[in-house]
């Protein structure tokens, strides 16, 4: 509460948000959490409306054609304002330019050439607002030979190598990522680059254009694979849950009692192994000299994992986690969302979920910005102190208070299907 009396770190920074799905909205979500005034610009047709508004999960009930009941949209767009604006009309684009003149940042992840088609590329917008920071997010990157290629998060994950690297070794196929990791991560990197550009602007007064690539973000997150391949001339391989670059073994996910319940165990040294052997009741196989040293365990991981699974499969994953942790062995239940929402005492104690109101569906828990600060106010509800905006919920505020339009002008624009 004390923090509410302090200015947000991005107080007074206005962000025009032409983003959709996850990558762009995640970037602007971060900026909204820091107090930027993020204004989502949408329109009623399929191309300009965020697809997430129509997807599950959604809050049951309400009007059948409502676009305001999506749970994922509510989570990703908390703390933002929302307007409708028909960018396909010249009057709409004129209004957009007026908004740009009063903004610090534009974020968009339309198809790579859409803004130029509208005459709203960086070179045009810079004439209107020289201090503008323009973040454009595309799958491959706007410049370069793939500038016309199209992508979603999974496409970029495939090209960057992240899909290939995740999973059990050949002949198993890649497991890849079970969600759009590169939408999340590109959002983080987008927000980081905007924050850095705002630092630059404080110093120089100048804005900039940021052509952010999801695939390059994936390459940045590919660890040491690229270096190892250069050093050894061998292609990157998958290694499941093991840790090939250390002697840590066993190191993996092991089946526990129950339906599809698992525990991750990560033994880092001989002392931890000795503790695990004792916990298992010192069975002969575990006391055997063939597993005594880390290097030997590493060399026989298949057999080691099979034998350890025989032990873990009769245990409750949380009870076993507690016993292992008590002996100083890194171990964790493999938690799904239900576990994290209902059972995880740590997330509860740290206030991981923040209840936020949304004007149609009421108050729901939203994932908070995941850091605690002593001084800097950070809050997922952002300046409006609420979850996601309804479609066009803030038209009056934006068009009247920011652009200074009269009620009559606003009514006329509504009548002409511009806003």
């Amino acid at each position: 509460m004390e923090q509410r009396n302090r200015p947000f770190p991005l107080e007074g920074i206005r962000v025009i948000d032409l983003t959709k799905i996850v990558a762009g909205p995640n970037a602007t979500r971060m900026l909204a959490s820091m107090g930027a005034e993020v204004i989502r610009v949408e329109w009623h047709d399929q191309r300009a409306l965020d697809l997430l508004r129509m997807l599950r999960p959604s809050v049951p009930g309400g009007a059948p054609d409502s676009v305001n009941r999506s749970g994922l949209f509510n989570n990703l767009n908390a703390g933002k304002y929302g307007i409708t604006l028909n960018m396909s009309l010249p009057q709409g684009r004129d209004l957009f330019k007026r908004l740009i003149a009063k903004a610090a940042v534009l974020c968009e992840n339309y198809s790579p050439d859409q803004m130029e088609k509208w005459g709203l590329g960086y070179s045009e917008l810079k004439q209107i607002n020289p201090g503008l920071i323009y973040l454009q997010i595309t799958g491959m990157g706007k410049s370069g030979t793939y500038n016309a290629y199209r992508s979603v998060g999974p496409t970029a994950q495939a090209l960057s190598g992240l899909t290939h690297m995740s999973g059990l070794p050949e002949p198993m196929p890649p497991a890849g990522w079970g969600y759009s990791y590169l939408d999340h991560s590109t959002g983080y990197f987008g927000a980081i680059l905007v924050l850095a550009a705002l630092m630059n602007r404080r110093r120089t007064g100048q804005g900039c254009y940021i052509d952010l690539s999801q695939t390059e973000t994936g390459l940045m997150l590919s660890g040491t694979a690229i270096l190892q391949a250069q050093a050894t001339s061998k292609p990157t391989e998958r290694y499941g849950n093991r840790m090939p670059f250390t002697d840590w073994a066993p190191h993996g996910a092991f089946r526990c009692r129950g339906n599809d319940e698992w525990i991750a165990i990560s033994v880092q040294n001989d002392e931890q192994w000795a503790q695990l052997v004792e916990l298992m009741g010192s069975p002969a196989w575990a006391r055997s000299s063939r597993f005594a040293r880390a290097a030997d365990r590493k060399a026989q991981e298949d057999e080691l994992e099979r034998l350890l699974s025989e032990f873990t499969k009769v245990h409750d994953r949380y009870e076993l986690m507690e016993q292992l942790q008590r002996r100083g062995i890194p171990a964790a239940a493999v938690q799904n969302a239900a576990d994290r929402c209902e059972r995880d005492p740590q997330l509860k104690s740290r206030g991981y979920f923040t209840p936020l109101p949304q004007s149609e569906i009421g108050t729901w828990p939203v994932e908070e910005f995941p850091a605690k600060t002593e001084s800097t106010p950070l809050s997922v509800g952002g300046p409006p102190g609420r979850a996601a905006p309804l479609l066009g919920e803030d038209n009056d505020y934006v068009y009247r208070e920011i652009l200074g339009l009269t009620p009559q002008e606003i009514a006329a624009l509504r009548e002409d299907w511009v806003i």
Partner: protein, 421 residues
């Protein structure tokens, strides 16, 4: 002329004091131009002993260290020793941000030192990355990257399809490599930059208590909302999104034994262009026929199954790279499943300057490192100033800058409080 973002943080000095969990955060700050001084104890950072190594036999020259410590300076110092209190006090005046990481009990000890440093410099920002944060019932649990991805929900969404009886016979998968550190590192940088902006306005520093568990949990997309809003738990599937109900495959085996990720919305438009590609590949199909159109109307599910089989046949007729480029030329959102290193020579990434050749002592020769995720429309926006440092390479330089004279530095070295430099 815009200022490149590799100079955006050039006026800031960062002190990195923790273990490998904080290295990615400090790496990103170095990429944005900050001066990062890495404190290393007597034996050097633990990450110097994390593989892969340039030479398997010697376990020296860690590529892990080379990658995650680009552009940093190394100050060899027993940071917590009373003999270096003066050094700490002088560092307090120099640095803007301290990035620390490790187990909460270790951080607790150093927090006392940081509080003293903050009394010298109230604008100092301290960011700690710990497995669960500095509070809460799990704060002292021992964790690794694997167990963080397990606890935080990533593994539950990643893996393989269940067997036909609906039971999983393969484990959940932790995607490689060091992704919990990456996720936490990115969040740490976000929080640090927010705190730096706050300091610009108020002059006040901060203590940022970052929980790796919370950051990982925050990075699982639809999993949490599915449960919150619909009480549904998403199920992991091979090479595609975990979902409430089974979905059709995305991965397709190609003629060269590799894979293409054929992401699809299962639309009529996609069926039409896939039909064109099948025709061009000389594969018979009925996707442009009236019968198929009627099937789509009568039974979308049967139509999708049919299209699914044809996509498999199309993939089997050419290499992954051929299919990638042909599909993209038709506007499909498909890509070849590459290894990361296959992008090194790709003209697109060469044109964008994605990689930076850096002569790193740890590697023994110049290697190409990922150094940029964005361009200004023509050239990369970020670059690293140097490779990873040798242990203690900048000790004397940093101490001289702090105003210690050479005699005092020599005495500290003789005391073994600092090492040979």
């Amino acid at each position: 002329m815009e200022a490149p973002l590799s100079e955006a943080l050039e006026k800031f000095v960062i002190l990195e004091t923790g273990d490998e969990r904080g290295e990615f955060a400090a790496l990103l700050l170095a990429m944005l131009g900050a001066e990062v001084i890495k404190i290393e104890g007597r034996g050097g950072a633990e990450s110097r002993r994390i593989g892969p190594f340039l030479s398997r036999a010697g376990r020296t020259q860690s590529l892990h260290f080379a990658r995650y410590n680009l552009g940093k300076k190394s100050l060899r110092l027993d940071f917590e020793q009373p003999q270096v209190a003066e050094v700490r006090e002088r560092l307090a005046s120099l640095v803007d941000v301290i990035v620390d990481s490790g187990e909460a009990s270790v951080i607790d000890r150093r927090l006392k030192l940081y509080r003293a440093m903050r009394s010298v410099n109230p604008g100092l920002i301290v960011c700690t990355l710990t497995p669960f944060g500095l509070t809460g019932p799990y704060r002292d649990l021992k964790m690794t990257d694997l167990t963080q991805l397990a606890m935080g929900g990533v593994m539950a969404s990643c893996g393989y399809d269940p067997s036909p009886d609906g039971k999983y016979d393969t484990p959940p998968i932790a995607p490689a490599m060091w992704q919990a550190c990456h996720i936490a590192g990115a969040h740490a940088v976000l929080a640090i930059l927010a705190a730096l902006h706050f300091r610009e306005i108020t002059g006040t520093g901060d203590l940022i208590d970052l929980s790796i568990h919370e950051t990982v949990s925050n990075c699982t997309e639809v999993a949490i909302p599915s449960y919150i809003y619909n009480r549904a738990v998403v199920q992991r599937q091979t090479g595609r999104h975990a979902a409430e109900h089974p979905t059709r495959p995305w991965l397709r085996r190609t003629a060269d034994g590799r894979y293409v990720k054929a992401f699809m919305f299962w639309s009529r438009h996609e069926a039409r262009v896939i039909g064109e590609m099948l025709t061009e590949a000389g594969i018979e199909h009925d996707l442009h026929s009236e019968e198929y159109k009627q099937l789509c109307e009568r039974s979308p599910s049967a139509a999708h199954s049919h299209l699914n089989e044809l996509v498999d046949r199309l993939a089997a007729s050419m290499t992954s790279e051929e299919l990638f480029h042909k599909a993209q030329a038709k506007g499909l959102l498909w890509a070849s499943v590459r290894t990361p290193e296959e992008n090194l020579a790709d003209p697109h990434f060469v044109a964008r300057g994605t990689f930076q050749s850096i002569d790193s002592p740890a590697a023994g020769r110049p290697l190409n490192f990922p150094a940029s995720v964005a361009t200004d429309g023509a050239k990369p926006l970020t670059r690293f100033k140097s490779g990873a440092p040798e242990l203690g390479e900048h000790t004397r330089e940093v101490l001289l800058r702090l105003g210690l004279d050479s005699t005092k530095i020599d005495r500290l070295i003789m005391d073994d409080t600092l090492a040979k430099v």
